[in-house]
């Protein structure tokens, strides 16, 4: 009060502070501040996550540098850690998963978006959404008790008999391995591909279909040569989303991949993935270097999914800006 009698402030700040005070009395400023703190904590947690992963993996970075990513040896006793086998396992299983899931997922999405009447399409989509909610450990149980025995008795012998000349399908089949993990992963990511692709296909403008049909194309030709290419960036987005999900999947893969650190050209061979090695060895890791090497694997996984999710979002934004029609032929 004393200062204000000496120094006369200009009219503007007074007005501002009065409105600020009245807003504070109304509770608006308090509400704004409180909700801001909650929103800011989301950013804080995310930053903290990246920071913790980076700080907690400094030892292997100093000791191995980039060699960490290209050496195969993973020897906790000799304190030598290289991630190549795990990166290989992760990439191969995700690759197998996508090569199964992409045709199936896009096929189903085409059916749901283009062919099925809404009365059929909506309930089917509902089941697909439920499928996406099934926890990964349940898929793991399914893999252990169904896919592994099927692999031993039927899938592997059939593949050997028909495609056995390829190095991919040679060697003994134990049941567990890259192919089994890939199949289970494929089942898990198909719902993601279907849901996103269906949305994208539905947003393709109706004129596109009508133009193709009017030019004399069959139903399939209009779908495959016009509608799908129109929606391709969005479909790519769904694939990247599925890939990110497949790379980071832990439980189902851990239960069926065999957990053997080896690189083999055969898909029947047991292997190991980044997420699986973290899950299996984290609690048993003795020594800082061992633990920090595992955390660095987590960092690698984080960066991979970060990049893929970013690409997925970019692709979906690109389609969103392109097609704005209301689909359904």
């Amino acid at each position: 009060m004393a200062t204000s009698s000496i120094h006369v402030p200009s009219a503007d700040p007074v007005d501002n502070s009065r409105s600020f005070l009245s807003r504070l009395r109304n509770g608006d400023e308090i509400a704004r501040l409180v909700t801001f703190l909650f929103a800011a904590s989301v950013v804080l947690i995310t930053v903290l996550l990246v920071y913790e992963l980076w700080i907690a993996s400094s030892l292997p970075r100093q000791k191995f540098g980039l060699a960490f990513f290209v050496t195969k040896l993973w020897d906790p006793v000799a304190e030598q850690f290289g991630a190549l086998t795990f990166i290989y396992g992760t990439v191969v299983t995700a690759g197998v998963a996508l090569s199964i899931a992409i045709p199936l997922g896009i096929g189903a999405a085409i059916f749901l978006a283009e062919l099925a009447p809404q009365k059929l399409s909506d309930p089917l989509q509902f089941f697909i959404d439920l499928l996406a909610a099934v926890p990964s450990v349940i898929y793991g149980v399914l893999g252990v008790f169904i896919v592994i025995p099927l692999m031993r008795t039927w899938i592997a012998p059939t593949l050997k008999a028909t495609l056995g000349f390829l190095p991919l399908f040679q060697g003994p089949a134990y049941g567990v391995g890259f192919l089994t993990a890939g199949i289970v992963l494929a089942i898990m990511v198909i719902p993601y591909i279907i849901s996103v692709s269906r949305e994208v296909l539905l947003s393709v403008p109706r004129d596109q279909r009508e133009a193709a049909l009017a030019l004399g194309s069959t139903r399939w030709e209009s779908t495959w040569k016009v509608v799908v290419p129109f929606a391709r960036t969005g479909i790519m987005g769904s694939i990247f989303l599925a890939l990110a999900r497949a790379l980071g999947e832990t439980m189902a893969v851990t239960m069926v991949i065999g957990n053997t650190p080896s690189i083999s050209s055969s898909l029947f061979a047991p292997g190991y993935s980044i997420a699986a090695v973290i899950a299996n060895e984290f609690t048993e890791a003795t020594g800082d270097l061992y633990l920090q090497s595992l955390i660095q694997l987590g960092l690698v996984l984080f960066l991979l999914t970060f990049i893929l999710n970013g690409l997925a979002r970019l692709f979906m934004l690109l389609t969103a800006s392109r097609g704005s029609g209301t689909g359904r032929a």
Partner: protein
């Protein structure tokens, strides 16, 4: 009709049938999983399953009472973190923030949403387990809570933004302050959507195993309070399914059935709540 046209029509019919087969395959997986779990696990679900502790190897019987209570505790802790941050954060995004802040928060949430669950586990380990020097329900609950945040936040925000602006203007015109408008008009108008978001986030983390492996860790006995290692239903499914004992495997199916049943029911209820809502459009 010439042969070429006939061929094209044949290809069309064939490929369209194939797309139908694809969706049939995709959807049948759900019923297959359900049927399989009911067939193998249904018999093992009895009173003991819900009330008894796990028995040692070789002794038959026993149940998963500790895992069920443990899961409930973990989910309670997770909701304490995930729901308030998600809900109030969404209110800030939808009602208060400028576009720049909103972009940063949304970006962080989307980033967090894409982080593999095992990495969230490492984060909770570094942040909660290491300082306390032991595994605990707090650490597990924290990990699950972090996973709930982005799911709750993003979908709650969508539903808040879906509330028509005319409602906001009407409340303001009657002289209500902004927070009063939010508390008495906007949130009630979107409550179905908000409830759905929270339920879906809950169902999503209820089945998570990976972030619990080295935070909650697991415990074959009762875990009093929140400061000790604790068992959870999905972790039990994992441990029992990979065990070589037939009795344990049967119980894994039963636990899987209970877990899946719970998650599917929450999902269906959430979608049902949403479907009956009127004022707010779907995302």
């Amino acid at each position: 009709m010439n042969t070429r046209l006939r061929w094209r029509k044949l290809v069309s019919a064939f490929m369209l049938t194939m797309t139908g087969v694809c969706s049939l395959v995709a959807v049948s997986v759900l019923f297959f999983i359900l049927g399989y779990l009911v067939f193998h696990g249904g018999r093992s679900i009895n009173w003991d399953f819900f009330t008894k502790l796990p028995t040692p190897v070789g002794e038959s019987g026993g149940g998963m009472a500790n895992a069920i209570v443990g899961s409930a505790k973990l989910l309670f802790l997770a909701s304490l973190i995930g729901v308030p941050i998600g809900f109030f954060g969404a209110i800030y995004l939808a009602e208060f923030s400028g576009s720049k802040t909103a972009f940063v928060v949304r970006y962080a949430a989307d980033l967090l949403n894409g982080v593999p669950s095992i990495v969230i586990g490492i984060f909770a380990y570094a942040l909660v387990v290491l300082p306390f020097k032991h595994f605990s329900a707090y650490a597990g609950g924290f990990a699950l809570g972090v996973m709930m945040i982005p799911i709750t936040l993003r979908s709650t925000e969508e539903f808040l933004l879906g509330v028509p602006n005319t409602l906001r203007e009407a409340a303001m015109a009657l002289g209500a302050s902004k927070w009063k408008t939010i508390a008495t008009v906007i949130v009630p108008a979107a409550y179905r959507g908000i409830l759905t978001s929270v339920l879906l986030a809950f169902a999503r983390v209820a089945g998570e195993t990976a972030p619990l492996l080295f935070t909650a860790f697991g415990n074959r006995y009762w875990s009093p309070g929140f400061n000790q290692p604790i068992e959870s239903l999905p972790h039990m499914v994992y441990i029992y399914a990979i065990s070589p004992y037939e009795d344990w495997q049967r119980q894994a199916w039963a636990a899987g059935l209970v877990l899946l049943g719970l998650i599917l029911i929450v999902n269906i209820v959430a979608r049902f709540i949403l479907a009956r809502g009127v004022a707010v459009p779907r995302s």
